[in-house]
Point group: C2
Chain length 397, copies 2
């Protein structure tokens, strides 16, 4: 019997509770023992809950209880999640989390504490919701040097772009629809400005590199500047626009990363990842391309990944799992200009394309403009060209 | 330093050798120690090989060498792979394999020996080539009751169908093209008659059920009866035909499974898995649908999965990994008629659809015939209807 605790009884936390109750037989088989919830931490009252006796408002109850070996931190936010996690790890408990902000910000430190204490800090749910990606990237592709990661990592923005693409909605209307459906927060900045995807690509690229990729250094652009005209122009050119978390592992040992809207050809598997779904395309030097696809958020999918980590932590209670990264001893994040992209450009019909190198002409959506794909160039090189560019979007080749 | 051996120096075996040499730095990081190849077993001579001193023709050299802890069995076929694997496990060595025939046939027995000897028998490469699916299914989705698995598990047949769909090639021409490209054997029966996919869905469904699903009991139909007219009719109806390994975990505790061509709507992610690629769609009760996609065969992708298992076996040298299944103590394979499907039917233009229940009419590719989708029915119910059916193909709903 593994005694466990849940910290935070919101959407994901109640999903974790539900799965542990609903699938107890399966969990007993998977873990080799039962998972028994001993505490649920939340500052709110849940007097009507059928197991209201499990609730506590004091994290010390969990920290000081030697019987508890595995804790799910699903409270979100940096504080007090960071302090609680640190104290729990130091008390010799394994912690699993869905908290991408915490993993991206304090992951290196928390992993080092877990290593020192011979316990586990697992975070499968922090990227891609229920989609298995952290463990496959770390273990199943362990024989590969990872060359590139390109992911649709944020369901809200994917839904908005999908509504723009398929239903001709403007950005504002699509955002309202996302809010009405519960896919977007009332304050949607973290999603639409790319910050959520930035944390996630930081986690994936840190894992692939084995050292921390500082998310503060990842150029991050959201979808707020994408117009219906852009979406239509991409469509006329046989492509779609998706918000992509991108990381490329350069030959010089550095990691180039960004979050930005990118042009995805219809022939790419990523182009078919619609609605609120997430998809992560990973390229290894031996395996080539592999894609992981599914529900990137939501109560039960995210809880599915949290509980799988709890099972893993229960199995490995006295043995470390080697999933994580270390603090970088030097800056490994490449400068933006260390990587060239082709750009999908909408320009005035009269614009001279000479400055863009050998361009690939693509059909245009409007008579008043031309559309083309530039030769590979750096962001600075593109910025240096001032000839009536309406939009320039990196192409995922 | 983990000393390892490779049994079989064919396509996959030489890929395993290449990855261990090429990515030694990465492997040292992943495994926490170096993987050093001590033996390569093959009955052929490799006198020109740069490390010809590694080759042996006698498996006893490996079995009797206490230094060797991990062996990759990539020879294929049942015998002597079975006998060699059994002896190696009994000698306390972990074995990893890409041999789907062996895993499907003797897996339960070999896993039991591995358990008894506290070593590992790992088989990530046996399904989906380099695509991570065995470990994600077993570990990352461990909190889920698996409801269904539907996979494009054979690259050769997917290539043939793709050529029929996109290039209007007949089955025979597409098969010749697959052979010319090295995607199909000169004797292609194992692929085109569905036997290869049958082994793979048996492995996946055994893993999900935790007990052996006997592949001999899985109804298996290949693609040899699929005509260009079928493919065109599916296209007119907004779908494609793919060879699907299908398993559904019924409420009565049994596993329904088949290998057969199925009609896949264009809206399904499986419809976009083209060329020689594989894709596996897994549905869990908590996570919903997740899809794994990539190269399902080939030297380096398959070797990538074999070497990842070698790394895992090296890490877990003295600790068991819990990936596998046990012999079933009763027959858990459902009879064909325990599961109803809707069928995509091509019939004479004059055919009466009354016997098919509430049908869904779909556009027809030819004036001389009608096309429709039946109400859900069993195979026996369909067989009982004798009104000018040209083709009836199960629909993946």
């Amino acid at each position: 019997m593994a005694k466990v605790a849940i910290m935070g009884y919101g959407t994901v936390g109640s999903g974790v509770y539900d799965i542990i109750k609903m699938n107890s037989d399966k969990l007993r088989k998977s873990a080799g023992e039962e998972l028994e919830i001993k505490y649920i931490l939340d500052i709110r009252d849940f007097d009507d809950h059928p197991e209201k006796q499990l609730f506590t408002k004091d994290v010390k109850d969990i920290i000081n209880d030697d019987e508890v070996s595995v804790v799910a931190e699903v409270m979100g936010g940096l504080h007090p999640a960071y302090e609680f996690t640190r104290e729990l790890l130091e008390a010799g408990k394994s912690v699993v989390t869905s908290n991408k902000e915490l993993v991206a910000t304090y992951g290196s430190e928390l992993m080092a504490i877990a290593k020192e204490k011979n316990v586990n800090y697992l975070f499968e749910a922090s990227v891609g919701g229920g989609i298995p990606v952290i463990r496959p990237l770390s273990r199943c592709l362990s024989a590969n040097n990872i060359k590139r990661i390109a992911g649709i990592l944020n369901g809200t923005t994917n839904y908005i772009l999908y509504q723009m693409i398929t239903n001709n909605k403007s950005f504002e209307t699509a955002l309202s629809s996302a809010q009405a459906n519960g896919y977007a927060e009332r304050n949607p900045a973290a999603d639409i400005e790319g910050h959520d995807a930035c944390r996630k690509i930081a986690i994936l690229s840190s894992l692939a590199a084995g050292v921390e990729v500082d998310y503060n250094k990842i150029g991050t652009e959201g979808i707020t500047n994408i117009t219906l005209d852009d979406v239509r122009a991409a469509s006329a050119a046989g492509a779609v626009i998706k918000l992509i978390g991108y990381a490329e592992f350069l030959d010089n040992g550095k990691v180039y990363a960004h979050v930005a809207p990118m042009m995805i050809k219809k022939s790419s598997m990523l182009s078919g990842i619609d609605d609120v779904y997430n998809g992560i395309l990973i390229t290894g030097d031996a395996v080539g391309d592999v894609l992981f696809y599914g529900a990137g958020a939501g109560k039960m999918p995210t809880a599915s990944a949290v509980v799988a980590d709890m099972v893993d932590a229960a199995i490995h209670r006295t043995r470390r799992r080697y999933i994580g990264w270390e603090k970088a001893d030097k800056d490994i994040v490449a400068k933006a200009d260390e990587k060239k992209f082709r750009y999908f450009v909408r320009a005035d019909i009269s614009a001279d394309t000479g400055a863009f190198g050998e361009v690939e002409a693509v059909p245009s959506a409007a008579e008043s403009e031309k559309a083309f794909i530039t030769a590979p160039m750096t962001a600075s090189e593109l910025d240096g060209i001032a000839v009536g560019i309406k939009t320039a979007i990196r192409v995922l080749d």
